[in-house]
Symmetry: C2
Subunit: 204 residues, 2 copies
Amino acid sequence: MPRLYDYLDSGNGYKIRLLFALLEQPYTWKELDILAGETRTPAFLALNPNGRIPTLELDDGTCLAESNAILWYLAEGSPFVPQDRLARAQVLQWMFFEQYSHEPYVATPRFIVRHLPKDSPRRAELPDRMARGMAALAVMERHLSTRTFFVGERYSIADIALYAYTHVAPEAGFDLAPYPHILAWMGRVSAHPKHIPITCRPPE
Amino acid sequence: MPRLYDYLDSGNGYKIRLLFALLEQPYTWKELDILAGETRTPAFLALNPNGRIPTLELDDGTCLAESNAILWYLAEGSPFVPQDRLARAQVLQWMFFEQYSHEPYVATPRFIVRHLPKDSPRRAELPDRMARGMAALAVMERHLSTRTFFVGERYSIADIALYAYTHVAPEAGFDLAPYPHILAWMGRVSAHPKHIPITCRPPE
């Protein structure tokens, strides 16, 4: 059974927990305290030299890192990755958009606000990061204005990747009211009968 | 024939040019002056709402963005994407590593040094970005210390993605001498008989 190294409040980790729930696939879960340096220990760096969660340990001990690569590994062959070659690349396009143009500007502000001290010098980063975050949300809003899901009119891992930090963006101070198509899309994602919230702690 | 919107000095664009050369696949090429705002015009934003090169326009007018998603689209089914499920996910792992942990800290310093004025306030970003860039290079060095290529002991699009900005890192001021395994790997990549340099301008 695969073992997920994770941190409950991480949207990147939640992507994997949500997909496991949708696929009804069992796994074991190990939470690491990223704030206490538990992803920088020699033992964990031996599993993932880049020292980040989520990391998925397979039955043979092989470890896979990068949340969106783990999504692809688990979902390939399921309805959450399309069969069509162009649609597959479009799923990847949105997942690379998520990691390059969205996560640093939506997830990182949430981390700064929720987990760093109120007098942290990193709070100075918030205005620039949040401006770029709103630019990413505007790209999503425009795309969703004519679509129900990001690719091929069906729920895929591209939606999981983008939902993870978008739905908790208000925790960083983002106002999602100007993005009605994003709000409607989030409603469609969370209406899936096997949906779980980010706060749902798997058994360890 | 696909049409590549690109900028010659871009490592992200070079990834696609290099793969086209390796696959011996013809394409048309259109250079945009990113410094003059040619990726922010209404005409280009209609092709890619995120306003970035490279963007690949297919015969039916569909546009694909994100360099690593374009690599996957073009290479799936070729020897540059493995068949094995785990190896495929490992290729994606390294491509997400490239966009999240490498490109902002290796490519962006090169852009600041080469394309922004000498008195640009963005030069203040260089020390922090380059420290993170060296951390990414250290992860690559450790991985390559026991391998010839990033995944499965053969040249894949993971190598193309990481080679693109690593081989020009000295242009940003990085010293690659402390990374002998990276240097040897770059030699293997550039020894491919169909290799082309980043400076090789395709016919427009």
